[in-house]
Point group: C2
Chain length 256, copies 2
């Protein structure tokens, strides 16, 4: 199994605090030592960092931890390989272009038989069940809409149905984004937390680090963090229901 971390915010926000907690689980406080990756959206741009080694001992992870990349949407993943060998092409998040936007996808869980689902446009580069599922989702969206439909809710309804279909194959905890919306699908484990004014302090579970968000934010900031398991022990996390999708936009859940 793996662990997921996502962020949706209404102002460009750096995720270094949460990232520091998650990275410890990649080989230090957790067993997820088979690679890690992160996708930062900055406008329509998306930069990714991938490393097939343990995150707790990664030079690139140290750079990301040090360097404040500010983003509205982040998708991050640490891997414990269950399907597909440990190598760069099997390291999440996976990305593809659809409708002139970069879509990013990270998955925790296992899917039986997904590789028999036919693909048309998008082909996996690696050998994971996860990347196959991602290609299938984008294939379905592309087949249905040659151009991006508006408003976003229309896509969200289709995405919900697609994710629910895949969920029937096993466990499918997923973070998916098109650079604006962040889709969080809980199959077994996913929790989220919104930070907004009045901001307080938060302390990581996995390493000794406390941040006073009142000093780091403005009163208008709204930031939601989504993770497989809560990352802090002094904040109130919402544990998602099984087989549920929550869509985030500008830091808040939206109806979809």
């Amino acid at each position: 199994m793996c662990e997921l971390l996502g962020m949706s915010a209404n102002v460009p926000t750096d995720i270094r605090f949460s990232f520091s907690g998650l990275m410890e689980r990649g080989g230090s406080t957790g067993p997820h030592g088979d690679g890690w990756g992160i996708a930062f959206y900055e406008g329509k741009g998306c930069r990714t960092f991938h490393d097939p080694g343990p995150s707790s001992d990664s030079e690139i992870a140290r750079t990301v931890r040090r360097y404040p990349i500010k983003s509205l949407v982040v998708v991050c993943h640490i891997r414990r390989a269950t399907n597909g060998r440990v190598c760069l092409e099997n390291t999440h998040p996976f990305t593809r272009e659809l409708w002139g936007r970069t879509w990013a996808f990270a998955h925790n869980g296992q899917l039986k038989g997904i590789k028999r689902w036919p693909l048309k446009f998008y082909k996996p580069i690696g050998t994971t069940d996860s990347e196959h599922a991602f290609c299938w989702i984008l294939d379905q969206l592309r087949a249905r809409y040659a151009r991006p439909p508006t408003p976003g809710q229309t896509v969200a309804r289709v995405v919900r149905r697609l994710l629910a279909r895949i969920d029937g194959l096993g466990s499918f905890n997923v973070l998916l984004s098109d650079s604006q919306y962040l889709y969080a699908h809980c199959s077994t484990n996913l929790a989220w937390l919104t930070r907004r004014a009045p901001f307080g302090k938060a302390s990581l579970i996995d390493t000794e680090l406390t941040v006073d968000f009142a000093k780091e934010t403005t009163p208008h900031d709204v930031v939601t963090v989504i993770a497989t398991r809560p990352l802090t022990h002094d904040e109130s996390w919402t544990v998602m229901e099984r087989a549920s999708l929550t869509v985030f936009h500008h830091g808040l859940p939206v109806n979809a």
Copy 2:
């Protein structure tokens, strides 16, 4: 205009020496301060680093310079914006998946009217003429071959014709790779150099750095470096002819 750097090798090789020279041109010894990016292929995997700021002052460039990522194919670019504003989505190299492989593309030059060329499958995320040209190339390859044709020479012949068509629109110095082959198309400026046994010393033009490759290599290593302008002053670079394509595989030019 921009500058390009590419590498093709027969053993996983780190490009830190050449990269250090190029990065100086991104705001220090050269005027290309509008972003930089690099794609490293490791097997079928591809990791990219992008930064929309000057490379000579980039924290991520410093990490790449420090951290020996070993690769068979590298595509790197520093940008001086002429078409499309300075932002992450306009930062080369661009990547897309075709036939289950990641293709990476970087361009130096300007193309008049390319944005009127119709696109079907691939859509630009940013606003550069370069990304439009890249999408058009992959569109044409995909339309012609639903599956990857073998051997590689077949693709190379088609790529040659596609690049030549675009070259008619202006200046089109390009590095393009599918993770195995590295296509280097010279419109106005591109030079290359193959290092192989017996290895000697080399000194960068743009910063005081000398490497003795005899200490860094084995007698079987073959490494070709391609750059807009020669990066060293004590090696013999081959300046490419105008309107010519050279295809590299495992460090050597191949007939195509």
